[in-house]
Protein backbone atom coordinates (compact mmCIF):
# COMPACT_ATOMS: atom_id res chain seq x y z
CA UNK A 1 0.00 0.00 0.00
CA UNK A 2 1.20 3.44 -0.91
CA UNK A 3 0.62 5.08 2.45
CA UNK A 4 2.30 2.29 4.36
CA UNK A 5 5.34 2.48 2.12
CA UNK A 6 5.43 6.23 2.48
CA UNK A 7 5.42 6.09 6.26
CA UNK A 8 7.95 3.29 6.21
CA UNK A 9 10.26 5.38 4.04
CA UNK A 10 10.03 8.31 6.41
CA UNK A 11 10.69 6.18 9.46
CA UNK A 12 13.62 4.38 7.87
CA UNK A 13 15.17 7.66 6.80
CA UNK A 14 14.73 9.11 10.26
CA UNK A 15 16.34 6.05 11.82
CA UNK A 16 19.38 6.20 9.53
CA UNK A 17 19.83 9.89 10.28
CA UNK A 18 19.57 9.28 14.00
CA UNK A 19 22.22 6.54 13.92
CA UNK A 20 24.51 9.00 12.18
CA UNK A 21 23.83 11.59 14.84
CA UNK A 22 24.48 9.01 17.51
CA UNK A 23 28.05 8.58 16.27
CA UNK A 24 28.85 12.28 16.21
CA UNK A 25 27.03 12.68 19.48
CA UNK A 26 29.23 10.00 21.01
CA UNK A 27 32.34 11.87 19.96
CA UNK A 28 30.90 15.14 21.18
CA UNK A 29 30.45 13.72 24.65
CA UNK A 30 33.71 11.75 24.73
CA UNK A 31 36.52 14.22 24.70
CA UNK A 32 39.16 11.62 25.41
CA UNK A 33 38.84 10.45 21.82
CA UNK A 34 40.48 13.64 20.60
CA UNK A 35 43.72 12.81 18.84
CA UNK A 36 45.11 16.26 18.06
CA UNK A 37 48.83 16.64 18.57
CA UNK A 38 49.77 20.05 19.93
CA UNK A 39 52.86 20.13 17.81
CA UNK A 40 55.14 22.98 18.79
CA UNK A 41 54.11 22.62 22.43
CA UNK A 42 54.87 18.92 22.69
CA UNK A 43 58.37 19.07 21.27
CA UNK A 44 59.77 17.71 24.51
CA UNK A 45 57.63 14.59 24.45
CA UNK A 46 57.52 14.10 20.69
CA UNK A 47 58.42 10.54 19.76
CA UNK A 48 59.99 10.38 16.34
CA UNK A 49 60.59 7.16 14.53
CA UNK A 50 64.25 6.27 14.68
CA UNK A 51 64.39 5.50 10.99
CA UNK A 52 62.59 8.62 9.88
CA UNK A 53 64.47 10.10 6.96
CA UNK A 54 64.84 13.80 7.62
CA UNK A 55 68.24 14.72 6.28
CA UNK A 56 71.58 13.18 5.48
CA UNK A 57 74.19 13.55 8.20
CA UNK A 58 77.71 12.29 8.59
CA UNK A 59 78.36 11.00 12.11
CA UNK A 60 81.66 12.03 13.64
CA UNK A 61 83.15 10.34 16.64
CA UNK A 62 84.74 12.05 19.64
CA UNK A 63 88.08 12.41 17.84
CA UNK A 64 86.35 14.34 15.07
CA UNK A 65 86.76 11.42 12.72
CA UNK A 66 84.31 10.13 10.13
CA UNK A 67 84.22 7.09 7.91
CA UNK A 68 83.94 8.68 4.47
CA UNK A 69 86.59 7.61 2.00
CA UNK A 70 85.39 9.92 -0.74
CA UNK A 71 84.54 7.04 -3.06
CA UNK A 72 81.59 8.99 -4.55
CA UNK A 73 79.25 5.99 -4.45
CA UNK A 74 76.58 8.15 -2.85
CA UNK A 75 77.07 10.86 -5.44
CA UNK A 76 76.45 8.34 -8.21
CA UNK A 77 73.53 6.74 -6.41
CA UNK A 78 71.72 10.01 -5.87
CA UNK A 79 69.01 10.58 -8.45
CA UNK A 80 68.85 14.33 -7.94
CA UNK A 81 72.45 15.43 -7.76
CA UNK A 82 72.05 16.28 -4.12
CA UNK A 83 75.53 15.25 -3.08
CA UNK A 84 78.75 16.68 -4.39
CA UNK A 85 82.06 15.37 -3.05
CA UNK A 86 85.17 17.45 -3.46
CA UNK A 87 88.28 15.36 -2.93
CA UNK A 88 91.78 16.31 -1.98
CA UNK A 89 94.97 14.34 -1.64
CA UNK A 90 96.53 14.06 1.78
CA UNK A 91 100.26 13.45 2.01
CA UNK A 92 100.63 10.61 4.45
CA UNK A 93 103.61 10.26 6.84
CA UNK A 94 105.22 7.70 4.57
CA UNK A 95 105.14 10.16 1.70
CA UNK A 96 102.33 8.42 -0.19
CA UNK A 97 99.36 10.41 -1.41
CA UNK A 98 95.98 9.32 -0.18
CA UNK A 99 92.58 10.36 -1.44
CA UNK A 100 90.40 12.00 1.19
CA UNK A 101 87.39 14.25 1.21
CA UNK A 102 87.85 17.96 1.29
CA UNK A 103 84.19 18.93 1.37
CA UNK A 104 81.06 16.81 1.39
CA UNK A 105 78.46 19.16 -0.07
CA UNK A 106 74.85 18.26 0.59
CA UNK A 107 72.00 20.18 -1.03
CA UNK A 108 69.08 19.67 1.31
CA UNK A 109 66.85 21.71 -0.98
CA UNK A 110 67.25 19.11 -3.74
CA UNK A 111 66.99 16.05 -1.55
CA UNK A 112 63.91 13.83 -1.74
CA UNK A 113 64.93 11.66 1.22
CA UNK A 114 64.93 8.48 -0.81
CA UNK A 115 67.79 6.99 1.19
CA UNK A 116 69.65 5.58 -1.81
CA UNK A 117 72.92 7.27 -0.82
CA UNK A 118 72.87 5.59 2.57
CA UNK A 119 72.18 2.26 0.85
CA UNK A 120 75.07 2.81 -1.52
CA UNK A 121 77.68 3.85 1.03
CA UNK A 122 80.18 0.99 1.49
CA UNK A 123 81.57 2.30 4.78
CA UNK A 124 78.36 3.49 6.43
CA UNK A 125 79.80 6.95 6.62
CA UNK A 126 76.51 8.76 6.15
CA UNK A 127 73.13 8.12 7.64
CA UNK A 128 69.67 9.59 7.74
CA UNK A 129 68.87 11.68 10.79
CA UNK A 130 65.32 12.05 12.04
CA UNK A 131 65.34 15.82 12.30
CA UNK A 132 62.63 17.49 10.34
CA UNK A 133 62.50 21.19 11.16
CA UNK A 134 64.50 22.39 8.20
CA UNK A 135 62.87 25.68 7.38
CA UNK A 136 65.25 28.62 6.97
CA UNK A 137 64.85 32.11 5.60
CA UNK A 138 67.64 31.91 3.08
CA UNK A 139 67.81 29.09 0.60
CA UNK A 140 71.61 29.11 0.64
CA UNK A 141 71.54 27.86 4.21
CA UNK A 142 70.15 24.58 2.93
CA UNK A 143 73.39 23.79 1.15
CA UNK A 144 75.32 22.07 3.88
CA UNK A 145 78.84 20.83 4.42
CA UNK A 146 78.58 17.50 6.16
CA UNK A 147 82.16 16.84 7.20
CA UNK A 148 83.15 19.01 10.12
CA UNK A 149 86.11 21.34 9.74
CA UNK A 150 89.37 19.60 10.49
CA UNK A 151 87.81 16.16 10.57
CA UNK A 152 89.72 13.15 9.38
CA UNK A 153 88.90 9.73 8.17
CA UNK A 154 88.81 7.13 10.89
CA UNK A 155 91.75 4.76 11.09
CA UNK A 156 91.17 1.44 9.46
CA UNK A 157 88.34 2.47 7.16
CA UNK A 158 89.19 1.67 3.59
Amino acid sequence: MFLKEYINDVLKAAKSLLTGMKVTGYYFTHRKEIITEQYPDNRATLQLAERFRGEVVMPHDENNQHACTGCSACEIACPNGTIKIINKFDIQPDGKKKKAIDTFVYHLELCTMCGLCVEACPTSAIKMANTFEHSVFNRNQLTKRLNQPGSKIREGVE
Binding site: V10, L17, G20, M21, V23, T24, G25, Y27, F28, R31, E33, I34, I35, T36, Q38
Partner: protein
Amino acid sequence: MFSLEGITKAIDTWLNAHFNSTVVLLAECVLVGVAAIALFAVLGLGLVWMERKVAAVMQIRLGPNRLGPKGIFQTSADTLKLIMKEGLTPDGADKFLFNLAPFIVMIVAMLVLAPISFAKNFQIWDINIGVLYVSAVSSLSVIGILMAGWSSNNKYSLLGAMRSGAQIVSYELSAGLAIISIVVLTGSLSINDIIQSQQNGWWIFKGHIPAIISFIIFIIAVTAETNRAPFDLAEAESELTAGFHTEYSGMKFALFFLAEYINIFIVCSIGATLFFGGWMPLHIGNWEAFNHIMDFIPSSIWFFGKTIFLIFLIMWFRWTFPRLRVDQLLNLEWKYLLPISLFNLLLMTVVAIMGWHF
Protein backbone atom coordinates in the same frame (compact mmCIF):
# COMPACT_ATOMS: atom_id res chain seq x y z
CA MET B 1 15.87 41.27 41.32
CA PHE B 2 18.50 41.85 38.73
CA SER B 3 16.96 41.36 35.30
CA LEU B 4 17.00 42.87 31.85
CA GLU B 5 13.52 44.19 32.47
CA GLY B 6 14.73 46.05 35.56
CA ILE B 7 17.61 47.64 33.68
CA THR B 8 15.44 48.95 30.86
CA LYS B 9 12.90 50.25 33.34
CA ALA B 10 15.59 52.05 35.29
CA ILE B 11 17.06 53.65 32.19
CA ASP B 12 13.61 54.73 31.04
CA THR B 13 12.71 56.36 34.36
CA TRP B 14 16.07 58.05 34.61
CA LEU B 15 15.79 59.49 31.12
CA ASN B 16 12.22 60.66 31.66
CA ALA B 17 13.17 62.36 34.87
CA HIS B 18 15.95 64.39 33.30
CA PHE B 19 14.94 65.17 29.72
CA ASN B 20 11.85 66.00 27.72
CA SER B 21 10.01 63.34 25.75
CA THR B 22 11.63 63.97 22.33
CA VAL B 23 15.12 63.62 23.70
CA VAL B 24 14.09 60.51 25.57
CA LEU B 25 12.75 58.95 22.42
CA LEU B 26 15.90 59.83 20.50
CA ALA B 27 18.14 58.54 23.25
CA GLU B 28 16.18 55.31 23.48
CA CYS B 29 16.39 54.87 19.72
CA VAL B 30 20.14 55.24 19.86
CA LEU B 31 20.34 52.84 22.78
CA VAL B 32 18.26 50.24 20.98
CA GLY B 33 20.36 50.60 17.85
CA VAL B 34 23.61 50.26 19.78
CA ALA B 35 22.26 47.31 21.72
CA ALA B 36 21.20 45.57 18.51
CA ILE B 37 24.60 46.14 16.92
CA ALA B 38 26.33 44.89 20.04
CA LEU B 39 24.12 41.82 20.10
CA PHE B 40 24.99 41.14 16.46
CA ALA B 41 28.69 41.44 17.06
CA VAL B 42 28.66 39.24 20.14
CA LEU B 43 26.39 36.66 18.54
CA GLY B 44 28.43 36.55 15.37
CA LEU B 45 31.70 36.06 17.16
CA GLY B 46 30.28 33.67 19.71
CA LEU B 47 28.37 31.47 17.31
CA VAL B 48 31.25 31.13 14.89
CA TRP B 49 33.46 30.10 17.78
CA MET B 50 30.82 27.69 19.00
CA GLU B 51 30.42 26.20 15.56
CA ARG B 52 34.13 25.61 15.26
CA LYS B 53 34.37 24.07 18.69
CA VAL B 54 31.38 21.78 18.13
CA ALA B 55 32.74 20.73 14.76
CA ALA B 56 36.17 20.10 16.20
CA VAL B 57 35.05 17.88 19.02
CA MET B 58 32.81 15.85 16.74
CA GLN B 59 35.76 15.47 14.41
CA ILE B 60 38.06 14.35 17.23
CA ARG B 61 40.05 17.57 17.01
CA LEU B 62 40.64 20.36 19.49
CA GLY B 63 39.53 23.29 17.41
CA PRO B 64 40.65 26.86 18.04
CA ASN B 65 42.75 26.87 21.17
CA ARG B 66 45.52 29.39 20.70
CA LEU B 67 44.03 32.84 21.14
CA GLY B 68 42.66 33.39 24.60
CA PRO B 69 41.27 30.69 26.87
CA LYS B 70 39.89 27.86 24.69
CA GLY B 71 40.55 30.00 21.65
CA ILE B 72 37.67 32.30 22.44
CA PHE B 73 39.29 35.29 20.72
CA GLN B 74 39.99 33.36 17.55
CA THR B 75 36.94 34.73 15.80
CA SER B 76 37.78 38.29 16.81
CA ALA B 77 41.17 37.80 15.19
CA ASP B 78 39.48 36.41 12.11
CA THR B 79 37.23 39.43 11.91
CA LEU B 80 40.24 41.68 12.21
CA LYS B 81 41.83 39.78 9.36
CA LEU B 82 38.71 40.17 7.23
CA ILE B 83 38.65 43.90 7.91
CA MET B 84 42.24 44.13 6.71
CA LYS B 85 41.35 42.42 3.45
CA GLU B 86 40.60 44.39 0.35
CA GLY B 87 36.95 44.28 -0.68
CA LEU B 88 37.06 43.44 -4.35
CA THR B 89 34.34 44.09 -6.88
CA PRO B 90 34.70 42.05 -10.07
CA ASP B 91 35.02 44.04 -13.28
CA GLY B 92 31.93 42.76 -15.01
CA ALA B 93 29.72 42.98 -11.93
CA ASP B 94 26.67 45.14 -11.51
CA LYS B 95 28.42 47.35 -8.99
CA PHE B 96 25.36 48.88 -7.39
CA LEU B 97 23.55 45.63 -6.71
CA PHE B 98 26.78 43.91 -5.78
CA ASN B 99 27.44 46.40 -3.02
CA LEU B 100 23.80 46.63 -1.99
CA ALA B 101 23.32 42.90 -1.40
CA PRO B 102 25.18 42.61 1.93
CA PHE B 103 23.24 45.61 3.22
CA ILE B 104 19.93 43.97 2.35
CA VAL B 105 20.87 40.75 4.06
CA MET B 106 22.04 42.62 7.12
CA ILE B 107 19.02 44.93 7.37
CA VAL B 108 16.65 42.00 7.06
CA ALA B 109 18.47 40.16 9.82
CA MET B 110 18.20 43.29 11.98
CA LEU B 111 14.52 43.84 11.31
CA VAL B 112 13.57 40.36 12.42
CA LEU B 113 14.91 41.15 15.87
CA ALA B 114 12.03 43.53 16.58
CA PRO B 115 9.36 41.16 17.93
CA ILE B 116 11.67 38.65 19.57
CA SER B 117 11.25 38.48 23.29
CA PHE B 118 14.68 38.08 24.85
CA ALA B 119 13.51 38.01 28.42
CA LYS B 120 10.46 38.70 30.50
CA ASN B 121 9.04 42.01 29.30
CA PHE B 122 12.15 42.65 27.26
CA GLN B 123 11.13 43.09 23.71
CA ILE B 124 11.76 45.83 21.19
CA TRP B 125 8.24 45.90 19.83
CA ASP B 126 5.44 43.57 20.84
CA ILE B 127 3.76 43.37 17.45
CA ASN B 128 0.35 41.73 17.62
CA ILE B 129 1.15 39.76 14.45
CA GLY B 130 4.63 38.81 15.67
CA VAL B 131 5.09 35.38 14.08
CA LEU B 132 3.56 36.49 10.78
CA TYR B 133 5.93 39.45 10.79
CA VAL B 134 8.90 37.18 11.41
CA SER B 135 8.06 34.75 8.65
CA ALA B 136 7.32 37.60 6.25
CA VAL B 137 10.46 39.61 6.89
CA SER B 138 12.86 36.70 7.17
CA SER B 139 11.91 35.52 3.70
CA LEU B 140 13.15 38.85 2.35
CA SER B 141 16.74 37.75 2.82
CA VAL B 142 16.43 35.63 -0.30
CA ILE B 143 16.33 38.88 -2.25
CA GLY B 144 19.74 39.80 -0.93
CA ILE B 145 21.10 36.40 -1.86
CA LEU B 146 19.62 36.51 -5.37
CA MET B 147 21.02 40.00 -5.79
CA ALA B 148 24.47 38.90 -4.69
CA GLY B 149 24.46 35.89 -6.96
CA TRP B 150 23.15 37.65 -10.00
CA SER B 151 25.26 40.77 -9.80
CA SER B 152 28.57 38.94 -9.31
CA ASN B 153 28.90 38.10 -12.99
CA ASN B 154 30.05 34.67 -11.93
CA LYS B 155 28.50 31.41 -13.01
CA TYR B 156 28.91 29.67 -9.70
CA SER B 157 27.28 32.59 -7.93
CA LEU B 158 24.36 32.64 -10.30
CA LEU B 159 23.71 28.92 -9.93
CA GLY B 160 24.07 29.17 -6.17
CA ALA B 161 21.64 32.07 -5.98
CA MET B 162 19.09 30.26 -8.14
CA ARG B 163 19.35 27.22 -5.96
CA SER B 164 18.92 29.14 -2.77
CA GLY B 165 15.97 31.01 -4.26
CA ALA B 166 14.10 27.80 -5.00
CA GLN B 167 15.15 26.30 -1.71
CA ILE B 168 14.20 29.16 0.57
CA VAL B 169 10.80 29.76 -0.99
CA SER B 170 10.02 26.05 -0.85
CA TYR B 171 10.90 25.55 2.76
CA GLU B 172 9.12 28.76 3.69
CA LEU B 173 5.89 26.81 3.31
CA SER B 174 6.53 24.04 5.79
CA ALA B 175 8.09 26.45 8.25
CA GLY B 176 4.94 28.55 7.97
CA LEU B 177 2.68 25.55 8.45
CA ALA B 178 4.64 24.48 11.50
CA ILE B 179 4.22 27.94 12.94
CA ILE B 180 0.50 27.96 12.14
CA SER B 181 -0.01 24.70 13.97
CA ILE B 182 1.22 26.37 17.15
CA VAL B 183 -0.85 29.44 16.43
CA VAL B 184 -3.88 27.14 16.28
CA LEU B 185 -3.17 26.13 19.87
CA THR B 186 -2.55 29.60 21.21
CA GLY B 187 -5.07 31.56 19.19
CA SER B 188 -2.79 34.55 18.93
CA LEU B 189 -0.02 35.75 16.62
CA SER B 190 1.66 37.89 19.24
CA ILE B 191 4.90 36.41 20.50
CA ASN B 192 4.17 37.60 24.01
CA ASP B 193 0.83 35.82 24.03
CA ILE B 194 2.40 32.66 22.72
CA ILE B 195 4.91 32.67 25.55
CA GLN B 196 2.25 33.42 28.13
CA SER B 197 0.20 30.48 26.91
CA GLN B 198 3.07 28.18 27.91
CA GLN B 199 2.92 29.18 31.55
CA ASN B 200 2.02 25.68 32.67
CA GLY B 201 4.23 23.77 30.25
CA TRP B 202 5.86 24.08 26.90
CA TRP B 203 3.95 23.31 23.75
CA ILE B 204 6.33 20.55 22.73
CA PHE B 205 5.22 18.67 25.85
CA LYS B 206 1.65 19.86 25.98
CA GLY B 207 0.78 19.50 22.34
CA HIS B 208 0.98 15.73 22.00
CA ILE B 209 2.47 14.11 18.88
CA PRO B 210 1.38 16.84 16.44
CA ALA B 211 3.54 19.36 18.27
CA ILE B 212 6.55 17.08 18.08
CA ILE B 213 6.01 16.51 14.36
CA SER B 214 5.63 20.25 13.94
CA PHE B 215 8.86 20.81 15.75
CA ILE B 216 10.76 18.32 13.60
CA ILE B 217 9.37 19.89 10.44
CA PHE B 218 10.15 23.32 11.74
CA ILE B 219 13.76 22.49 12.55
CA ILE B 220 14.29 20.87 9.14
CA ALA B 221 12.68 23.76 7.33
CA VAL B 222 14.63 26.45 9.12
CA THR B 223 17.87 24.56 8.59
CA ALA B 224 17.08 24.71 4.90
CA GLU B 225 15.96 28.31 5.05
CA THR B 226 19.21 29.45 6.59
CA ASN B 227 21.21 27.56 3.96
CA ARG B 228 22.86 25.31 6.47
CA ALA B 229 24.24 21.86 5.74
CA PRO B 230 22.79 19.39 4.82
CA PHE B 231 20.86 21.95 2.80
CA ASP B 232 23.75 24.28 1.99
CA LEU B 233 23.33 23.93 -1.75
CA ALA B 234 23.56 27.65 -2.28
CA GLU B 235 27.16 27.54 -1.17
CA ALA B 236 27.95 23.90 -1.80
CA GLU B 237 31.70 24.18 -1.69
CA SER B 238 32.41 20.94 -3.49
CA GLU B 239 30.14 21.88 -6.38
CA LEU B 240 30.02 25.66 -6.67
CA THR B 241 33.17 26.64 -4.75
CA ALA B 242 31.33 29.13 -2.53
CA GLY B 243 28.02 29.63 -4.27
CA PHE B 244 26.46 33.04 -4.16
CA HIS B 245 29.25 34.73 -2.23
CA THR B 246 32.11 33.43 -4.38
CA GLU B 247 33.10 36.93 -5.48
CA TYR B 248 32.74 38.59 -2.10
CA SER B 249 35.82 39.32 -0.08
CA GLY B 250 36.84 41.23 2.98
CA MET B 251 34.15 42.92 5.02
CA LYS B 252 31.37 42.29 2.52
CA PHE B 253 31.97 38.60 2.82
CA ALA B 254 32.09 38.94 6.57
CA LEU B 255 28.63 40.51 6.51
CA PHE B 256 27.19 37.53 4.64
CA PHE B 257 28.94 35.18 7.00
CA LEU B 258 27.66 37.08 10.01
CA ALA B 259 24.15 37.26 8.60
CA GLU B 260 24.10 33.49 8.26
CA TYR B 261 24.77 33.04 11.94
CA ILE B 262 22.37 35.80 12.95
CA ASN B 263 19.67 34.13 10.90
CA ILE B 264 20.34 30.87 12.65
CA PHE B 265 20.01 32.62 15.97
CA ILE B 266 16.76 34.25 14.93
CA VAL B 267 15.09 31.12 13.62
CA CYS B 268 16.24 29.19 16.65
CA SER B 269 14.88 31.83 18.97
CA ILE B 270 11.56 31.63 17.13
CA GLY B 271 11.67 27.87 17.51
CA ALA B 272 12.44 28.24 21.19
CA THR B 273 9.59 30.68 21.57
CA LEU B 274 7.03 28.56 19.78
CA PHE B 275 7.90 25.13 21.10
CA PHE B 276 9.95 25.66 24.23
CA GLY B 277 8.22 28.64 25.75
CA GLY B 278 10.76 31.38 25.02
CA TRP B 279 11.90 32.90 28.29
CA MET B 280 9.29 30.90 30.21
CA PRO B 281 10.95 28.70 32.82
CA LEU B 282 10.27 25.00 32.83
CA HIS B 283 6.93 24.61 34.54
CA ILE B 284 5.21 21.32 35.13
CA GLY B 285 1.47 21.47 35.71
CA ASN B 286 0.71 21.93 39.39
CA TRP B 287 4.09 21.24 40.94
CA GLU B 288 4.16 24.56 42.72
CA ALA B 289 7.47 24.08 44.51
CA PHE B 290 9.27 22.93 41.41
CA ASN B 291 7.84 25.80 39.34
CA HIS B 292 8.88 28.24 42.01
CA ILE B 293 12.47 27.05 42.01
CA MET B 294 12.57 27.28 38.25
CA ASP B 295 11.39 30.87 38.43
CA PHE B 296 14.57 31.83 40.24
CA ILE B 297 16.63 31.27 37.12
CA PRO B 298 16.57 34.58 35.18
CA SER B 299 14.32 34.55 32.14
CA SER B 300 17.07 35.69 29.79
CA ILE B 301 19.09 32.61 30.68
CA TRP B 302 16.13 30.41 29.88
CA PHE B 303 15.72 32.10 26.54
CA PHE B 304 19.35 31.98 25.49
CA GLY B 305 19.80 28.48 26.83
CA LYS B 306 16.94 27.14 24.74
CA THR B 307 18.07 29.04 21.69
CA ILE B 308 21.62 27.79 21.98
CA PHE B 309 20.36 24.26 22.41
CA LEU B 310 18.49 24.56 19.13
CA ILE B 311 21.52 26.11 17.47
CA PHE B 312 23.58 23.18 18.71
CA LEU B 313 21.03 20.84 17.18
CA ILE B 314 21.43 22.55 13.81
CA MET B 315 25.21 22.40 14.11
CA TRP B 316 24.96 18.75 14.99
CA PHE B 317 23.08 18.18 11.73
CA ARG B 318 25.72 20.02 9.80
CA TRP B 319 28.62 18.01 11.11
CA THR B 320 26.92 14.68 10.63
CA PHE B 321 25.11 14.62 7.33
CA PRO B 322 26.17 14.78 3.71
CA ARG B 323 24.57 17.34 1.49
CA LEU B 324 21.42 16.66 -0.50
CA ARG B 325 21.27 17.06 -4.24
CA VAL B 326 19.18 19.94 -5.50
CA ASP B 327 16.31 17.86 -6.83
CA GLN B 328 16.26 15.68 -3.72
CA LEU B 329 16.09 18.81 -1.66
CA LEU B 330 12.99 20.00 -3.45
CA ASN B 331 11.55 16.49 -3.41
CA LEU B 332 11.94 16.35 0.34
CA GLU B 333 9.94 19.53 0.66
CA TRP B 334 7.21 18.91 -1.88
CA LYS B 335 6.79 15.17 -1.48
CA TYR B 336 7.36 14.74 2.22
CA LEU B 337 7.41 17.83 4.37
CA LEU B 338 4.52 19.70 2.78
CA PRO B 339 1.95 16.87 2.75
CA ILE B 340 2.99 15.79 6.22
CA SER B 341 2.73 19.28 7.60
CA LEU B 342 -0.67 19.84 5.99
CA PHE B 343 -1.91 16.64 7.53
CA ASN B 344 -0.29 17.52 10.81
CA LEU B 345 -2.07 20.87 10.80
CA LEU B 346 -5.42 19.12 10.54
CA LEU B 347 -4.43 16.83 13.37
CA MET B 348 -3.42 19.82 15.43
CA THR B 349 -6.73 21.52 14.70
CA VAL B 350 -8.58 18.49 15.98
CA VAL B 351 -6.44 18.43 19.10
CA ALA B 352 -7.02 22.14 19.67
CA ILE B 353 -10.76 22.04 19.13
CA MET B 354 -11.31 18.97 21.24
CA GLY B 355 -9.06 20.39 23.93
CA TRP B 356 -6.93 17.26 24.06
CA HIS B 357 -3.80 19.23 24.77
CA PHE B 358 -2.88 19.75 28.40
